[in-house]
Subunit: 131 residues, 2 copies
DNA sequence: ATTCTATTTCGGTAATAAGCGAAATGACGA
DNA sequence: TCGTCATTTCGCTTATTACCGAAATAGAAT
């Protein structure tokens, strides 16, 4: 179809070849999340998570939307590139019941109850803040 | 479903996160191939290819069968693990028309015309033999 | 304008992975 | 048995990547 399907696919598989990144995708199933919420969910440095999100975006596995200072990430909509669409369905289906992913969802519920602004402040001031 | 779906899936995605390895999978669509044929196809050292094949096997993306001194690799049959089945269909479908993959198929035709024994001898004696 | 603040970019370190050649393994043939 | 040969394992080097903190960027609020 497209000319460089191989390169595109490798972008996708490299993006998926890291535990943190696939867990991010699973966390986005229900709603979009801002970068600080994702960062809080996994307890990594903001810079680290930013790089993970860049790789996901490069693979076409997430969309991002800027609103004020916040950047919201979400699973891609109808414009999802071909190489990524099936991969997303596959990953979400295979991992839906994985215990780690279930834990992540529970923790995410707690994070969503908090004010994102306050979350960010805590997160960015004192590093390694983890709910 | 299974307990450690996440670990299994990462094995699959890491196996797929390398250009050589996905090209090996595509080359196996039509027929099983022995290790020396695969090695000749890509022009890598036998030890390197052996490690690639190990990773593919670890991800459940190939089966292997020993016949005498030769080891034949093939796409997995009905016993393919859940984490790998859909991934295989996805990769093969997305890459079917990629120019590099098409080249590989053409080169593979030439390799299949040769006697595997002779191929192996050349390949293993003088390293970097490439058809 | 200046100060906060959410995110990204940069520089560096430690862990992981791809590549090779040499040596080990295991099966066949003389 | 002994050598031959296809493949794998091992030790090593180089390249890539995950991670961090510090600095840079960009948007909001004062």
């Amino acid at each position: 179809m497209t000319k460089a399907a191989l390169r595109d696919l490798i972008h996708v598989t490299k993006a998926l070849a890291d535990e943190t990144r696939v867990r991010v995708l699973l966390a986005l199933r229900q709603q979009e999340l801002c970068a600080c919420q994702i960062t809080a969910l996994f307890g990594l440095a903001p810079s680290t998570m930013s790089e993970h999100l860049f790789l996901l975006k490069q693979g076409g596995l997430v969309d991002s939307r800027k609103e004020g200072r916040w950047i919201y990430y979400s699973l891609p909509g109808k414009d999802v590139p071909e190489a990524a669409r099936e991969a997303l369905r596959w990953v979400c289906r295979v991992l839906a019941d994985d215990p780690r992913v279930v834990e992540d969802v529970a923790k995410l519920q707690r994070i969503l109850k908090r004010d994102p602004a306050e979350l960010c402040r805590k997160r960015c001031r004192k590093r390694r803040f983890c709910l």
